[in-house]
Every structure is written in C-alpha cells, then in structure tokens.
C-alpha cells in the first residue's frame, strides 16, 4: 500500500513534464490531461485514506523509502515519504481542491493560447506541494518548499507581458527566499544538533538538546513559515500575488500553499513544545498578522486584494493557534481545512465575477450583480457566511474553537490573545460584509473598460460553477462534520498531540461574544456600504484607510529601505569595484609605466653620460667592496 505514496506525486509530476516539454501539438488536449492526472492523484489519495481508516493507532503511519538522495558521511538525506493523518489531511485537501480548480480553469483559461503551459504549471505545483507534505525529512520538505515557490512564481507571472505581473512574481519569490533562508538554517542547526534532519529522530529527541538550540530552530522555522504563509513581517508579497490568474490565487494563495507554514509549525510541534519562547513569538506573529490582514482587507477596493488580506488574517488565526501548542495544533489544521474550502470558493466566485465583468477587479465598479449571476451569488454568499463564522457553517466551528483555545492559554496572555481573536472576528465580519455589499448589492456601477466595451455580466459556464458549488457544500458542512464529537481531534491527536485547554470563561460565553462582535462588524459595514450608495471613485478616506490601502505603508518601507537602498548599495559597490579594487591593479601597472618613462630619460643618447654612469658604477663598486672589508 505504501508504494502508492510515490504515485501521488508522480501523477501530477508526469503531467507537468509532458505538458511543458510536449510542445504545441498538445495544445488541444493539454488541459484535459492535466485535470485527469490531478484527479488521478486525488483518487489515489482517497484509496490511501480509506486504507488508513482501515488501520488503527500507530499502524496508520506509512513510510516509503525510494532512494538515498545526498549521502556524504554522516549527512544522509533520503528521498523517503511519511504518510500519517496530518499529511493525509493535506493530501486530500490539496488534491481535492486542486482537482476542482483544474476543472474550473478549463473554462476560465479558455481564451488563453498558453493554456497548456498553465496546466503544466498547476500540475507542477500539485507535485511540489504533495512532496512538501509527504516528505519524511526536513531537507526533502525544503525541496517541496522551494518547488511550490517556483510554481507560484511561474503562475503569478503567468501573464508575463504585464510588467506588474512579472514584478509581483519576482517579489513573491524573493520574499519567500528570505523565509527559505530560515528553513535552511534550521536544517543546518538540526544537523549539527542531532546529526540528522529526518522527522522521526529529530522530533523524537528534542528533549535531549538545550532549550536554546530548540528556540533557535523554532525561530528559524517560524521565519520560513512567515515567508510562505505571508505573515508579518514577510507578508508583503501576497497582495501583489493577486496579479496571477484567479484560479491560481484560489489554489495556491488561499487554499494550499500559503498554509504550508501552518503545516511546518504543526509538524515541528515537538520542537516548539520544547521552546516556549519560540512559541510565544509564533503567537505574537499570528496575532499581529491577524489584525494586519484584517485591517488591510477593509481598505482594499480590488476584490482579490481584499480577499488576500482576509487570507492573511485567517492564516494569522491558524499560526496563532499553532503557537498555542498542543491546545491549538488540531484547531489550526481544522481551520486550515475549512478555510481551504470557503476561501477557495470565495476566490473562484471572485474569478467568476471578473469573468463576467471583462476582468474588472475594482469593487466600486460592481454592484447589484446578484441578479445577473445567481449561482456565483449563492456560492459566494455561503462562503461569506462561512468565513465570518455564521452559526452552523464551517467557519463558525473552526474559528470559535481557536478563540476558545486562545483564552485557554491562560493568564494575561490568554486574555490579550482572546480579545485579539475576537476583534479579528469583528473586523472579518466587517470587511467580508463590505465585499458582499459592494459586489452583489446596491445599484450597478459598471463602466466601459479602456477598450470601451460596456460589460454585460453573465453567469459563468458549468465547468466553473460546478467546482464553486462543490466548494460551497464544503464550506457549509465541513466544519460541523469535523467538530461533532471531536472527530477531527481524534483523527489528528496521534500525530500532533492534544490536550484540552480549560478557558477561564465558558465556551458558551465565548460563542456569545463571538456572535455579538460578528453582528457589530456586519452592521457597521451595512451602515457604511449598504445604506448609502458607494462612490465609484474611492474617497480620500481617513489616515488609517489610506495607510491600509497601501498595506499599512510597509510597501513604501520596502521600497525606500530595501529597493532604493539596495540600488544605492550596488551602484556604489560597482563604482568601488571599478575604481578601488581594479584601480589598484591598473594603478600598479600604470606606476611601473611611469617609472619606466622616467628611467628611460637617463638614456639621453650622449656617450659621455653613459661613460659617467660606468665611472660612477665602478666607483660605487670599489667603495662597496672596500666598505665590506672595513665592516
């Protein structure tokens, strides 16, 4: 059975290879092939899943050793896989949502002549992502880690002719690289500490190492997570990443890749458990990002950017939960899954809207679309209810559990975190309501695009709506399904460990409070965008709004400090290299030339001068010899 694991990755990898090397002759069948292989991978996943359910206890974890990758003395990196409940969860999410989005893309990318290549990239992403979650050692994980980075780079920049897209892709890759630095250093630390970096041995012996080491490793892993999961301070790339085609945003930048950070932290739980300080930092990062993303989400008029902010914030929730340790791991993953459903759904909905609006992304130019694209409206609406945590829907359960866990952290920290998560919930309700209202309600504010085409909104084709509907189902029922009878807890506990944290206040109170802030947030949004008409051109807005529109100024910070500073640095270095380092070299040569020029003047052509030099030379010779004898 474990031999199937490799096939999970092999299927999409094959697809990528064929589609990218295949050439134009595959243009007509390419998208079908890609989708097929993604589906195949999903099927294999389901088979493995059912098989896993068949077994129990430790027997559920499968291992597959393919071959030795980098063997150098004590440094032994293998290509080997580990399939346990945690990775299983991800496999299903990735292949499932992935397949849906493949199907969606068939319709969405119909008019793009490079559709084959697009599907190639998508398959490549699936392969890399599966490698990431299936690896049984950190170096192989790193392989997948950078692999998804590459795929995301290719897909964000898919429309390369748009300079903005190319820049966004480059930015995403670079910021991720900073995170990767952390991961690679973490691996090195593990190697020097444990002499290995395979999950089993490392996580098994975290107790024996000093806490300092563990903290260091933890922080490095966190850095990596921040890069991939767009957490403060490395979040800046996610907004720009929306330059990519919408399916990409849905799959990579909402459902799967961006949650890799959460996976990493949960997977490395043992390390963090042994390093409380690191855990604290994780929690803080989560909390900050939670609010940051939410605030940004409130100010954006670009529907995808607004959703991106929301993604950031939701992942903040997950990171925060993961930072809570055994109390939170399970809930982090649970929220991750539910979020995978509804956020993917929301993005696909947004894509469907854009599809109908000549790729217009500015919500101020939408309005009243519910009549024109009912399916999209309904699915999007369900997703909306799910994410704000409307009772009974997925988000309600997963988020609520996280809030409880936050309070359960205990002490002042508990209170602070709890209130932050509550506040986050309120803001979430606000900005999602805002999106909803601006897009589907109010009067129509459409305008002709730069080519003068008046948009005439229409429902998207089946290939697009069906995935949306399926995802909508997921966003409605998944949460309840997981939460009832703590199914999800029992499922993951063997891997991540779990102990129930006792909150200082009862669960009911928490739920109640959540409901209250939720209503407040939604109401405020209705007051601002539902009751009175939305201006087509954005008002100047308050200082905070303006800051939020520019990602709370941190892009400007990047630009001034990193970009400009870097340019100055390199330019001055080029100068230094040319004038100083090279100057010394050329200078030496030149100085010899000059010396030569002066010396040759002695050769003035007068025989008598030559005689003088001979005479002088002789004199010196004699004097020197006599002196030698004298001393």
């Amino acid at each position: 059975m474990e031999n199937l694991i490799a096939l999970l990755i092999a299927a999409p990898l094959l697809g990528a290879a064929v589609l990218l090397c295949g050439g134009r002759r595959l243009d007509r069948v390419g998208h079908w092939l890609g989708t097929l292989l993604a589906a195949a991978s999903f099927v294999i996943g389901v088979v493995l899943f059912s098989d896993m359910l068949g077994r129990s206890g430790d027997g559920r974890t499968l291992h597959q050793h393919l071959f030795s990758w980098i063997p150098v003395e004590s440094f032994q990196a293998d290509v080997a896989f580990q399939l346990d409940q945690l990775s299983m969860t991800f496999v299903l999410l990735i292949t499932g949502v992935g397949t849906l989005i493949h199907i969606y893309s068939i319709g969405y990318m119909e008019h793009d002549e490079r559709r084959r290549r697009f599907f190639g990239y998508l398959n490549l992403f699936l392969a890399a992502m599966l490698l990431l979650v299936l690896a049984d050692n950190y170096l192989l994980l790193y392989f997948g880690w950078e692999g998804v980075g590459l795929a995301s780079y290719l897909l964000i920049g898919f429309w390369q002719h748009k300079p903005s897209a190319a820049t966004a892709a480059k930015k995403a890759f670079l910021v991720n690289r900073v995170g990767d630095m952390g991961l690679s250093i973490a691996v090195m630390l593990m190697f020097t500490t444990f002499g290995t970096f395979a999950f089993g041995p490392v996580l098994g012996s975290t107790g024996d190492a000093t806490e300092g080491k563990m903290t260091a490793i933890g922080l490095m892993l966190l850095l990596a997570a921040c890069g991939k999961s767009a957490q403060v301070p490395l979040q800046s790339w996610l907004g720009d990443a929306m330059e990519g085609p919408t399916p990409v945003s849905a799959l990579i930048h909402a459902a799967t890749m961006v949650t890799a950070g959460v996976y990493l932290i949960t997977r490395s739980g043992a390390i963090f458990n042994a390093a409380p300080d690191a855990q604290l930092v994780v929690v803080v990062v989560g909390a900050v990002t939670l609010l940051f993303g939410a605030v940004v989400g409130c100010a954006k008029d670009d529907i995808k950017k607004a959703l991106a902010g929301s993604t950031m914030s939701q992942i903040g929730y997950m990171i925060l939960a993961a930072g809570l340790g055994p109390i939170g791991y399970v809930f982090a993953i649970m929220h991750l899954v539910t979020h995978g459903f509804f956020k993917a759904g929301l993005f696909l909905g947004a894509g469907s809207v854009m599809h109908g609006m000549n790729d217009e992304v500015d919500m101020r130019k939408y309005g009243g679309l519910r009549k024109h694209m009912p399916v999209t409206f309904v699915t999007f609406g369900l997703g909306y209810l799910a994410i704000i945590g409307f009772p009974g829907l997925s988000g309600f359960f997963s988020k609520d559990l996280i809030i409880e866990a936050a309070f359960a952290k205990g002490g002042t920290q508990g209170w602070i975190l709890g209130s932050v998560t509550l506040l986050g919930a309120a803001i979430t309700a606000f900005y999602m309501t805002r999106v909803m209202l601006m897009t589907f309600f109010g009067e129509k504010r459409w305008q002709p695009d730069e080519h003068g085409h008046q948009p005439h909104p229409h429902e998207s084709p089946k290939s697009m709506t069906i995935p949306m509907i399926i995802l909508a189902f997921g966003s409605v029922f998944a949460g309840g399904f997981f939460a009832i009878g703590e199914r999800f807890v029992h499922w993951l506990e063997p891997v991540t460990g779990y102990h129930h944290g006792e909150a200082p206040i009862s669960a009911a109170t928490v739920t109640g409070a959540t409901m209250v802030v939720l209503v407040l947030g939604a109401a405020l949004a209705w007051l601002m965008y539902g009751r009175r008409p939305v201006p087509v051109t954005a008002p100047r807005g308050s200082l905070l709004t303006r800051a939020a529109r520019r990602d709370l100024l941190q892009d400007d910070f990047n630009h001034v400090v990193l970009v400009r500073g870097g340019e100055h640095l390199t330019r001055s270095l080029v100068y230094v290299d040319h004038t100083l380092v090279d100057g010394v070299v050329n200078g030496t040569a030149a100085s010899f030339g000059g010396l030569s020029g002066r010396l040759r003047k002695l050769q003035n052509g007068y025989a008598r001068t030559y005689a003088v030099s001979m005479f002088g030379g002789t004199a010196v010779l004699i004097a020197a010899t006599l002196l030698m004898r004298a001393v």
């Binding site: 003035n604 052509g605 007068y606 008598r608 005689a611 003088v612 005479f615």
Partner: protein, 99 residues
C-alpha cells in the same frame, strides 16, 4: 727611490684620462684620453714588475702597446668615417639614438 710614487703617478694619469673621457666632446680627444689611461696602466705594470722583480709586467706593457695600436687603427677608422658623414667629430652630435 720608492717605486710607490710611480704608482701614484700612474693612478693620477689614469684619473686624468678618465676625467677627460667624461668631459671632452671631441671624439679624437676622448680617444686620446683612453690612450692615456692605457699608458697609465703600462706605467703601473712596469712599476709592479720592478717591485716584484719579475718581467711579466714589462712584457704585458708591450702587449698593451700593440693592443693600443690596434685600437687606434679601428677607432680612427670609425671616427673618421663618422666625421666624413657628419662633418663633426663631436661625441654629443652622435645622439640620434636615445631613450
């Protein structure tokens, strides 16, 4: 009489000759100064021969004279040909090649 004086004289002559080579312009004169130096050498040889009581020095003096004569032949030939082509026997005029 102490033969050392002859040595002093010899070195004096030699120095005069050398100085002449350094300061005089006319090629012939310069050449004569060289001859003077050679003769200074001869004087030294003879003196030493006298001191040591063997005749090598004197014989060498003869050889030197012969050599000097040969030099005169070659030297004058060259100098004269230069003079004919430049109408000047000044050493400093012969400075086409320099640097």
């Amino acid at each position: 009489m102490n033969p050392v004086y002859y040595l002093y004289l010899a070195s004096l002559l030699f120095t005069i000759g050398a100085a002449g080579v350094l300061i005089r312009r006319n090629a012939i004169v310069v050449f004569m100064c060289v001859e003077l130096m050679l003769n200074a050498c001869n004087l030294a040889f003879v003196t030493f021969s006298r001191m040591h009581g063997n005749l090598d020095g004197q014989i060498i003096a003869f050889f030197t004279m012969v050599v000097a004569a040969a030099e005169v032949v070659v030297g004058l030939a060259i100098i004269v040909s230069v003079f004919r082509s430049r109408h000047s026997a000044s050493v400093d005029d012969a400075s086409l090649m320099k640097l």
